[in-house]
């Protein structure tokens, strides 16, 4: 009984070890872009749900418009630029959400009134 258990554990460890060392196929730039876009869009939606969006993420009158410009860059095949812009957009969307959450209890009491 004891021997069988040791063998089973050994086999399990071996399989797990093999899996861990199997090199994963690196994501192509396009795949990285698609994953980042989905993450960013979800973050923007979350920020918008609490009225916490920042100006330059996607507002039509902003000169920066990181998200739409990332999509444009990807359409033109420039995934590196698209990923760079998405990184900023995702960060700003996350910060907008966090800020709105942190300001939930904002009021005159914070200004000495």
């Amino acid at each position: 009984m004891m021997k069988k258990s040791i063998v089973s554990i050994g086999l399990a460890l071996l399989i797990a070890g093999c899996n861990a060392t199997t090199p994963e196929k690196p994501m192509s730039l396009k795949e990285q872009y698609e994953a980042a876009l989905a993450r960013t869009q979800a973050a923007v939606k979350k920020a918008a749900s609490v009225d916490g969006e920042w100006r330059d993420v996607r507002w039509k009158k902003s000169k920066k418009r990181y998200l739409p410009k990332a999509i444009e860059a990807a359409k033109a095949g420039d995934y590196e630029k698209a990923l760079k812009l998405l990184k900023i957009a995702e960060f700003q969307a996350e910060m907008g959400y966090k800020q709105a959450m942190a300001e939930k209890d904002a009021g005159p009491h914070l200004y000495g009134l």
């Binding site: 100006r55 005159p108 200004y111 000495g112």
Partner: protein, 285 residues
């Protein structure tokens, strides 16, 4: 140790309950006292003159400008709009009453039936739609001209926004507007209150910051900045145009003019200037 803990806990509960029961009237009282202490000696109605009540040099320039005000021709255009009948033969007087001087002071108001804040501009476009006319655009042009005319006619009357305290929805709208004013937003992490409660009288770059008290009395406003952008010298804009500009400056995404967020904000903002004389339209840099 136990006594200290009990004391701290009670103090905390008192603080929380004070915030919870603070209604519009208490808010207004504290708001007024705060500005009276911050600018001792300044008469209440002087707050309606914004930065010109704080800086003597700017005031001289402003008074010179007000002798031949650049907004006059647009106020006249507003009068024409008021007087011109709709295609169905009716006019704005059928919606608002015959006396144009009695209109401005009724807004913003809580509409119990619609369960929302109704601003003057919203009422103007409601009236147009009701009479089969195309609504005006919200931020500038004809809506600002007409609103400026109605403000001009109401000069000297006191702002008198009523928050029906027995209507929880009205109170909720007021609280939302209040929260908007005090909540930091945008990449610069700034609240309306940072500039206009904490630092009025200080400079942001070359601009002197106005106090929150009296900020709404001169709206719609004629701004030199907007005049420069315009092709026909029209620098008039509504309060919601200004809200959008402020949000943009702190790098927050602005809300659309007449959105629920800005109407609630206006409800709170105008209420805080209750008792001050309307002096619209005003000239500002």
């Amino acid at each position: 140790m136990r006594k200290i803990a009990t004391l701290l806990l009670s103090a905390g509960l008192v603080a929380v309950s004070t915030q919870a029961v603070s209604g519009p009237k208490e808010d207004l009282e504290k708001f007024r006292t705060y500005f009276e202490q911050k600018f001792p000696g300044l008469q209440l109605d002087e707050f309606g003159n914004g930065v010109y009540a704080l800086d003597a040099n700017k005031r001289i320039q402003w008074e010179a400008m007000e002798e031949f005000p650049p907004y006059e021709e647009f106020v006249d255009k507003g009068r024409e709009i008021w007087e011109k009948p709709f295609k169905n033969g009716k006019s704005f007087a059928d919606c608002f009453g015959k006396d144009p001087s009695k209109v401005r002071v009724k807004y913003p108001r809580w509409d119990a039936e619609r369960q929302q804040v109704v601003t003057l501009e919203l009422a103007i476009n409601d009236c147009r739609k009701k009479n089969g006319e195309k609504p005006f655009k919200w931020k500038k042009g004809p809506i600002a001209w007409l609103s400026a005319y109605l403000g001009y006619e109401a000069r000297g009357q006191k702002i008198n926004v009523v928050i029906p305290e027995d209507d929880p929805k009205a109170l909720e709208a007021y609280e939302k507007g209040k929260h908007f004013y005090y909540a930091k937003r945008g990449q610069l992490n700034m609240a309306c209150a940072d500039c206009h409660i904490k630092y009025p009288g200080h400079f942001v770059r070359g601009q002197l910051l106005s106090p929150a008290l009296g900020q709404v009395t001169h709206f719609p406003v004629f701004r030199a900045k907007w005049e420069k952008k315009s092709k026909n010298g029209d620098g008039l804009g509504t309060l919601h145009r200004r809200y959008g500009g402020c949000n943009k400056q702190v790098r927050a995404r602005p809300f659309p003019a007449q959105s629920e967020q800005y109407r609630n904000l206006e409800f709170f903002h105008q209420y805080m200037s209750n008792g001050l004389a309307i002096n619209a339209p005003g000239y500002r840099e």
